[in-house]
């Protein structure tokens, strides 16, 4: 096959002011400007957002799913990081 590969971009949308941009999918485009145009056409046909980001997919570094246990287990092993770990006497009221 001789067709040249069109670069891949990840698309993020801010649904409305005050919310964070959120990943919605990807598009192929030759450059950033065209990626924005394509993202607008493909992902915002029904007022899905007020701001778009496009990021070259190749720029994303992902954690390895095989290392999920080592990476994220410590977080669940520390219940004392959560407020529900502590008992506050009823008389004290809401805290």
């Amino acid at each position: 096959m001789t067709e040249a590969m069109m670069p891949l971009w990840e698309v993020f949308i801010r649904a409305k002011a005050g919310l964070a941009h959120r990943h919605v999918g990807s598009v192929h485009a030759a450059d950033a400007e065209m990626a924005l145009q394509a993202a607008r056409d493909v992902y915002t046909r029904r007022g899905e957002g007020v701001s778009l980001w496009v990021v070259p997919s190749a720029s994303i570094t992902a954690s390895d799913p095989a290392e999920e246990a080592e990476l994220f287990e410590p977080a669940t092993a520390k219940p004392y990081r959560h407020p529900t770990f502590y008992t506050v006497p009823k008389e004290v009221g809401d805290m």
Binding site: M6, S26, V27, A29, A30, D31, P65
Partner: protein, 318 residues
């Protein structure tokens, strides 16, 4: 099943994978997955993407001839949605390690299939109504369980598509309703469209469960949640009362209501026609692929120019 028996470490991984799927965990692109799972998904999702893309053609036929400006704007929005759906699904397929360029080539060379329904012609405006009501209706019936598919990117694409697809079916029904409440000629046109689209729509659910080659693995791996026959029955039960509301007749003399089960029972589907159209001998197979090929060829200079321009800008910036 052949590649399910593998060396020991793969056997252990397969076991973990199957356990994970069984407890309704989603599978994501970088996770280990059996080759057969990956292949099944690539085949199914890309076939689905191709169907959305080729599906623009029968409707595109009426874009310039829609009866009013309102209908034209609606149809244009619907066709744009189909393009969008094709793109969401291509993107989901690419997460499995196949390139867009390969996928497009598979469609154009005929190596990959698309839904055989799009090989039927749209002869009158009523066909646009029948497609929305029946073809999109059948598609939604198929797609709702896919929103819970075990493969995350496919499930997410399907959720988006189902949300958008609902307007397609309703606008189609509205066209049929308008025609069926219109003049004698308009009503006859609606009936003629129903006559031609009813059986092909039922074929969209695929062969009977007893003859379906892909069901076993797909069901265990939670790619397919509901069987072909079950989905077809749901569609029939939903659609027959709608046809009565329209005052149109389902073209099936054997259609009858089974009081015991509460289901509508249909006559025999012409599977010889189904196989003929899938094998490439439907009314429009050659025309559809030729149109896709032309669109692809006509766009080649645009893709080349865009890449050349991006390259030039990169060099200038360096």
């Amino acid at each position: 099943m052949d590649d399910v028996a593998r060396p020991p470490d793969d056997a252990a991984r397969l076991e973990r994978f199957e356990a994970r799927v069984a407890r309704e965990d989603k599978v994501e692109p970088n996770d280990w997955m059996p080759d057969a799972y990956r292949r099944t998904l690539i085949r199914q999702i890309s076939q689905h993407a191709h169907s959305e893309v080729v599906g623009m053609l029968p409707e595109g036929n009426w874009l310039t001839r829609a009866p009013t400006l309102k209908r034209k704007a609606i149809l244009l929005a619907k066709v744009q949605d189909e393009a969008g759906h094709g793109l969401y699904l291509y993107a989901a397929t690419e997460t499995l390690g196949v390139s867009r360029e390969e996928l497009v080539e598979q469609l154009l060379t005929g190596a990959a299939k698309y839904s055989s329904i799009f090989n039927y012609p749209t002869l009158t405006w009523a066909d646009v109504g029948a497609i929305g009501w029946l073809v999109d209706g059948a598609a939604i019936m198929n797609q709702i369980p896919l929103c819970r598919c075990s493969y995350g990117p496919y499930a997410r694409a399907m959720i988006r598509i189902c949300k958008e697809e609902s307007f397609h079916q309703r606008q189609g029904f509205e066209i049929m309703l308008t025609l069926s409440r219109g003049t004698q000629e308009q009503k006859a046109m609606a009936q003629d469209a129903l006559d031609r689209w009813w059986w092909p729509s039922l074929m969209m659910f695929g062969p009977h469960d007893s003859d379906s080659p892909h069901t076993d693995n797909s069901t265990r791996w939670k790619i397919k949640r509901v069987s072909n026959d079950e989905l077809r029955q749901r569609f029939i039960d939903a659609t027959v009362p709608q046809s009565k509301y329209l005052g149109l007749t389902i073209p099936d003399p054997k259609l009858k209501f089974d009081k015991k089960t509460g289901h509508w029972r249909i006559g025999e589907i012409d599977w010889a026609e189904f196989r003929r159209v899938i094998a490439g001998d439907g009314p429009c197979n050659r025309e559809r692929l030729a149109d896709r090929q032309t669109a692809h060829d006509d766009g080649a200079w645009v893709r080349d120019a865009a890449l050349a321009y991006a390259e030039k800008r990169r060099k200038q910036a360096a």
